[in-house]
């Protein structure tokens, strides 16, 4: 049976892992390569590296860091941040990334999703969507939640799927950093609406939140950062607890 995936997310800035509460007030949580290796040992199913400053500062993700990770890691990983063209994605693929995640660049140029899927296959293309509730509507936001767009989250995700996205990484900006649980209502709506995998993100603070998101929604994976980085939720403990609730996990 296909397992539900547990994905630690490593936000990277200047080659170091950071995690902000609501994307402000950054804390240093260590070396990405070492963290990645530790997570693989603990039983993480996959990793996501997001260069959180990339979009804002127009920086390219560090190819050398990706290579170092690929040399050490025996599980898949995704790279996001600052990918705006085919050449960026190709460099990351050749450095050993399994998937790339695009966010703002896809909103600004939706054709990029189709182009990437055409060249590398849709399994390589994760579309990350940051969403926030504004006057009762779920609206896509950019630049770590700083910038609202005119796109409704549900419509944009459907469009991304139609264009060739292989997976959706959906982060609720209202929940992110709060540790009050995932946005299960929206995640269930999205998961039912599309036929590609969905990664839940934003709000994980306790083991129960993971159980809740897997039992009440159809998401395929759950992503979190600080609860893993600071050892608040050890991955083996989390997976054993999920298994007790008959949620398929890899132990």
């Amino acid at each position: 049976m296909l397992s539900k995936r547990i994905i630690p997310c490593l936000d990277v800035k200047d080659g170091r892992t950071v995690k902000g509460v609501n994307f402000v007030d950054l804390k240093d949580a260590g070396d990405p390569v070492e963290l990645a290796w530790q997570y693989a040992q603990q039983g993480a199913d996959e990793l996501v590296f997001l260069d959180i400053t990339a979009t804002y500062e127009r920086r390219k993700t560090m190819i050398e860091m990706v290579k170092s990770v690929a040399r050490q890691l025996n599980i898949p990983f995704t790279i996001g941040g600052g990918i705006t063209e085919i050449a960026d994605a190709e460099a990351l693929l050749n450095a050993g990334a399994d998937k790339i995640s695009i966010n703002s660049a896809a909103v600004k140029n939706p054709q990029l999703i189709a182009d990437l899927a055409e060249v590398f296959g849709r399994q390589f293309v994760v579309v990350a969507v940051d969403t926030k509730l504004v006057e009762g509507r779920n609206m896509v936001h950019l630049n770590g939640g700083r910038l609202i767009t005119e796109l409704e989250t549900e419509k944009w995700i459907k469009q991304a799927e139609d264009l060739g996205a292989g997976e959706i990484l959906l982060t609720s900006m209202d929940h992110d950093g709060t540790k009050q649980g995932f946005d299960c209502n929206l995640l269930q709506t999205i998961s039912q609406m599309i036929n590609i995998p969905v990664i839940a993100s934003g709000g994980a603070g306790a083991i129960d939140h993971f159980t809740e998101v897997f039992t009440t929604t159809g998401v395929d994976a759950a992503l979190a950062a600080s609860v893993f980085h600071f050892g608040e939720i050890p991955i083996p403990v989390l997976k054993n607890e999920l298994k007790k609730h008959n949620i398929p996990v890899r132990l």
């Binding site: 040399r71 898949p76 050749n94 050993g96 995998p197 395929d220």
Partner: protein
Amino acid sequence: MIGIVNYGAGNIFSLTSALSRLGITYGMINSEEEFDQYSHIIIPGVGHAGAAMDKLNKSGLVDKIRSLTKPVLGICVGMQLLTDHSEEGDATLTNIIPLQTKLFDKELGIKIPHMGWNNVEIKNNLLFEGVENQTQFYFVHSYFIEYNPIFGIATADYGLKYSAAVQKENFYGVQFHPEKSGAAGERLLLNFSNLK
């Protein structure tokens, strides 16, 4: 020493990294003559099976691959290339193993691509020596090779039972990515390198 068929179908950095971690030496194969330098051959591949077959045809190495008697391992799309035909691009493939590569049917209530860790039902086979039955491997694919009791050496379930690994004589194929499948995947690569 493992030779990797270098026909331009996708990234092999993760594969070579895994071999390096295991202390398995390897080199790249770009011409027919270079096959002779290696005891074992890997055909990698990601992306579109039809496009990958075009590249393999252009490499001029297909007839040589068909004639090989040393162990050959196709990984993911590299495995699919060993089959007769893929629905992806309606492509005619090498037909080294007479099986069909088909698109998953979303009517089965599954998400496509099949992405993540799935259990593998293993038959007794040297490729899986030391790997427990029902071990999970990492898959990412939208097309699958039909189940076949003769050539199938491992199966996975995703909407239906299909071939997770196949073998015909010295030709092996795995649909999952051993280089991304943790310790079990590394064991499989080591087993392959030890096949006689």
